[in-house]
Amino acid sequence: MTRIHDMGGRFGDGQVKPSAPNESLFEKPWHARALAITLAAGALGRWNQDASRHSRERLPPKDYARFSYYEKWLAALADLLVRREVVAIDEFAQPERLPSQRLSKNALLGSEVAKELAKVTPSTCEISRKPRFATGDKVRTRRPSGNSLVKGGHTRLPAYAAGCLGKIVMFRGNHVFPDSNAHFLGEAPEPLYSVAFSSEELWGCVKDSSNDEVIIDLWESYLVSAN
């Protein structure tokens, strides 16, 4: 149904530690390196962003909990490289012994990085049907949350908002559907909406903050009409 990354509303995580003055962007030099190899390997085009997110989410819960942020990135990258057949599993055994090959034509060149990072890649697509819901419509989210195409697959309906009554705030265009795209089953674009949920609906009676709300971006197939 859900995985360990889906932590909205969970108890027990303790206090948030705001940044110390002059905190560095990368706590350790290898953090920067982990970010850079992830982006450079992503530029090979062998997977998409949804697949990349899913690769982090599907780490065993024990690893997800004990790994720091960039350790999750590294583990997910290693898994993706093998699953997408970019690297053979035995090549991880003794990297220094691998023969040096010429730079692939698909590799991101140092000279192209600035252009590549400044590139805007919209996740919106044209579709022929019209959005089913309009601003102000009442909707209820699917329950249980979870991918309906692949068991244990990627989804973006957080468990804390499953089965809840909300109101459409705005239609955001037709966006690539992560539940399908993460598994290379096609982009399958769907209308996307910002949906408002009152704190009371999500968490029950909330002292001093009954007027507060959470807005979540949700794809049409996560929603049913509740007008």
Partner: protein
Amino acid sequence: MPHDHCESDHPHNLLPSDPELRVKALETVLVKKGLVDPAALDAIIEIYENRVGPRNGARVVAKSWCDDEFRSELLEDASSAVGKLGYSGRQGAHLVAVENSPEVHNVVVCTLCSCYPWPLLGIPPAWYKSDPYRSRMVREPRKVLKEFGLEIESGRKVRVWDSTAEIRYLVVPMRPEGTENFTESDLADWVTRDSMVGTGLPKPPASQ
């Protein structure tokens, strides 16, 4: 229904467990196989360390405080408005600016991962990616904001945006009182990173 691969299939276990050695091993494999240009790695780090960061967002906010036409454009279509200032790119195709007011305080979280408007704010800080922030901001935003030193009056609505799709939210804080005669560039110095996520307020450069 297909199942999501074999659950025991986690090739990362074959790499060294020390993260520093793990990065090195991955980098070596990718470079030896000709899949990654080492110069690209240095260039990526240089850009996020020096060029793309919260100063971009601060300039956008300061401009919206000084220029009504830009403010309307920003609230209408933020990607287009900030694109004209040269701020575009990865994690920024669908930017949305949400403005604070005496009635509403906005704050942004990503409970499922760490989605963040990179072209305007750069790489997210550690707290934004931390479990306590991700788990608690949707359930008890007022309490979490207090941990940042921010108390929201009880009559004011707290609106939490959980970034579950490719929409990336920028909070536009309210212009501080007493800054009427400030130039746009002076104002930009008041706009902190946290004020654009909703966990802080603009403050004088000396107290940041």
